[in-house]
């Protein structure tokens, strides 16, 4: 595909992977070079519209995969003597920038992976003003810090909220944070 | 950021306010006269766009998704077989079904081998999406036309099997029963097999 070629030509060594899933192209770049990659994509390939920024917590996915692999291993038993070479563990989080070229109507998704022990990403608010709230939301939901963001504060949850709710280890029912907020009348009169 | 400067020329008519205001007054006057005449008519539903609720009710669509009911078949037997599909598919998890086995001598009451020992729907949780109705293999649970669901107490909003069946009886008496769902044509496929297997799975899961 022309888009894939031009992307790989443009990013060259910075490109870690370029994959296609259900018609969407995902390019993976190193975390430190996100600003330069995005700015070159914007200026040279015309991807000058940022649709959104998506954060993903992959921990549960890796766990499930590891379990599957282990099961497989157990099943196959000791017949398979040569163990697979241990791959370095993939970083826990990923941040996906959804880009769009408004002239050619091509979409490109740029992915970076963020390890749990280094939750810092360069902010791209200098490239797009609209990256402001998506980055704040990403911080709110996953705890990924965007360096250089003008006003990095929780967006959807309240400021004192202790956790990052879209992480996979956060329970769906919450951890009881709302107790501070909701006034519960004691005794009768309350029907629950 | 510099804001763009907006300049737009007004026509003379727009410039002197009055012309457009008079036009607008004429328009509202037309509405006023029409509705004034209409409002003098006897009866609660006079102005065509206004329904005076307690006396005057609009027609509810036959496919309306309102208060639930558990339907009975022609012989007056409960259709529900307590397979629990509705409870599983419910996005709001508002349905709880307890399964009971039909004892001998009770066949006149229940259509299947199993019956719901209790069937509760929490209307406070229900979002009236209609998935339960759609997934029910025996089309036993139906969302009816009742929409006056206000209660004084939260407890009353958890409706039980008796009320569900009473709802059905009331609908039957008033002739507001929902027509049976049309089967949705599927692109070049026989869906039957998968349907049946789905049923079995559902009932098994419930038993477990």
């Amino acid at each position: 595909m022309a888009l894939k070629d031009s992307v790989s030509r443009l990013l060259q060594n910075d490109l870690i992977a370029l994959e296609e899933s259900a018609g969407c192209i995902f390019a993976e770049v190193p975390k430190d070079k996100i600003v330069s990659c995005l700015s070159s994509l914007r200026d040279e390939l015309g991807f000058n519209f940022l649709s959104d920024i998506v954060g993903v917590d992959n921990s549960a996915l890796y766990e499930a995969k590891a379990k599957k692999a282990k099961k497989k291993k157990d099943k196959e038993g000791e017949e398979n003597e040569t163990p697979e070479p241990e791959r370095p563990a993939l970083p826990r989080f990923e941040v996906i920038y959804l880009l769009l070229n408004p002239d050619t109507n091509e979409r490109l998704q740029v992915r970076i992976r963020v390890p749990e022990d280094d939750l810092k990403v360069q902010s791209i608010t200098s490239l797009w003003k609209g990256a402001n709230w998506p980055e704040r939301e990403c911080f709110d939901m996953f705890g990924i810090r965007f360096e250089g963001h003008p006003y990095l504060r929780r967006l959807l949850m309240w400021d004192e909220f202790p956790a990052h709710p879209l992480r996979k280890d956060y329970p769906l029912e919450g951890m009881g944070e709302e107790r501070h907020l909701i006034y519960e009348p004691e005794g009768e009169g309350h029907w629950t | 950021m510099a804001k763009p400067v907006v300049q737009r020329k007004y026509t003379l008519g727009e410039r002197i306010y009055l012309v457009e205001i008079l036009k607008g007054l004429g328009l509202t006057w037309k509405h006023f006269i029409f509705n004034f005449r209409a409002s003098l008519k006897p009866g609660p539903h006079t102005v065509p766009t206004c329904w005076q609720y307690p006396w005057d009710r609009r027609e509810i669509a036959p496919v309306f998704r309102g208060e639930h009911m558990l339907s009975l078949d022609e012989k007056g037997r409960e259709k529900c077989i307590a397979c629990g599909m509705c409870a599983r598919v419910c996005p709001a998890q508002c349905i709880t079904v307890k399964k009971g086995k039909v004892k001998e001598g009770e066949e006149e009451k229940y259509a299947g081998k199993f019956y719901p020992a209790s069937f509760e729907i929490d209307l406070l949780r229900c979002i009236f999406c209609g998935f339960c109705e759609e997934t029910c293999p025996k089309s036993a649970i139906v969302l009816g036309q009742g929409y006056e669901l206000a209660q004084y107490e939260g407890k009353e909003c958890i409706i039980t099997k008796e009320r569900l069946i009473n709802n059905f009886k009331a609908a039957l008496d008033s002739g507001n029963l929902k027509p049976p769902r049309k089967k949705v044509p599927v692109a070049g496929a026989k869906e039957k097999k998968s349907l049946k297997s789905g049923d079995k799975k559902g009932s098994k899961a419930q038993e477990a």
């Binding site: - | 205001i21 607008g24 509202t28 509405h31 006023f32 509705n35 102005v47 766009t49 206004c50």
Partner: protein, 346 residues
């Protein structure tokens, strides 16, 4: 009957009459707006919902009178009271009919025929500002304060064109007394037109009616209480009868302004081309003149309602711009032209 009894009867009558009109106006406003908007409006209480204002009144009276914790208690109560007082007293100098003869005693249908009627109306009318600003300040609420400030600026600005328009009328009729102006409007003008102010002062009337809408805080000039911007403006914090005073005061003001408009521009109680007093007996004439006057007022009251439900609202700077840049120059122009015409005709 001596003078005092008559005066007191007149005062009581006009007091209850304006209150009645104000009450009915709330019903007209609601029913009228409903019918304009393809709705029905309140139609349950009484025939056609006519008792709705009564029910509203009972509700307002029985509501708990409370003041917000941080409000200035005295000013908070003083605001609506000031507003209501000015609303009810402004009508004193405006006639509500010609005269009525009972027991061979001639009674003028006007509470007080002051020879500076115009000045009285303007002076009392401008007191409304105090009602708004005191209430807005006393509420200790930002919305209320902004509403009060808006009201102050708006009322003060629009009093100028109102005064200018009225001044031109005074010059035309050569009197400050509203009764004399009314009496002057009998007969015809230029031979075929009724001798009404509007035909002598068309531009002045335009200025006057716009300014009157602004003075009455009605759409398109209802900025002090613009509900989408300032919640409810100066009466955000009010409830119960204090709010009721503001609402009634507003409708009484409407009536006053309508009556003023009828008095100086629409020939007061005169019917064009017909001299009623020659056909009717003295008592009947008094009643008919009262009715004619009232019907004319009713039209303008309805116009207030009708316009309100037709057009959008101004912005504050546009409101000020309209007042200072359009209406005042127009009013002045009108004044000069009137003066010139008087000079060459007399």
């Amino acid at each position: 009957m001596n003078e005092w009894t008559i005066a007191i009867i007149k005062v009581v009558f006009i007091w209850s009459w304006t209150l009645l009109i104000a009450t009915i106006m709330t019903w007209v406003e609601r029913r009228g707006s409903a019918l304009i908007q393809d709705r029905l409006g309140p139609n349950i209480a009484g025939p056609f919902g006519l008792f709705q204002p009564l029910a509203d009144g009972i509700k307002l009276f029985t509501k708990e009178e409370f003041a917000p914790k941080h409000a200035h208690k005295i000013l908070f109560t003083l605001g609506p009271v000031l507003f209501a007082i000015q609303a009810f007293s402004a009508y004193a100098v405006i006639p509500f009919g010609d005269k009525i003869v009972i027991n061979a005693k001639e009674i003028v249908l006007q509470v007080a025929d002051v020879n500076i009627g115009f000045l009285f109306v303007l002076a009392v009318g401008s007191l409304a500002v105090y009602g708004f600003v005191v209430g807005g300040w006393g509420s200790n609420n930002k919305y209320s304060l902004l509403g009060g400030l808006r009201a102050t600026a708006q009322l003060l600005s629009y009093e100028v064109p109102l005064g200018l328009a009225m001044l031109a009328v005074c010059m035309t009729y050569g009197s400050f007394s509203l009764r004399e102006i009314s009496l002057d409007q009998a007969g015809t003008f230029l031979g075929f037109l009724p001798n009404w102010g509007i035909f002598k002062q068309p531009l002045g009337f335009l200025v006057f009616i716009v300014a009157a809408y602004a003075e009455a805080n009605r759409v398109p000039f209802d900025l002090p209480e613009a509900e989408s911007e300032l919640v409810a403006g100066y009466h955000t914090e009010y409830g119960g009868m204090r709010l009721g005073l503001y609402l009634f005061g507003e409708y009484v003001n409407l009536y006053t302004l309508s009556a003023l408009m009828v008095t100086i521009y629409f020939g007061a109680w005169h019917i064009p081309y017909v001299d009623m007093s020659s056909y009717l007996g003295p008592l009947a004439y008094g009643i008919v003149s009262f009715l004619v006057f009232f019907l004319k007022c009713a039209f303008f009251l309805w116009l207030f309602v009708w316009v309100r439900w037709t057009i959008p609202r101004f912005r504050f700077d546009q409101l000020m711009g309209l007042g200072w840049k359009s209406l005042i120059p127009l009013g002045l122009l009108n004044l000069f032209v009137t003066a010139f015409l008087i000079q060459i005709t007399v």
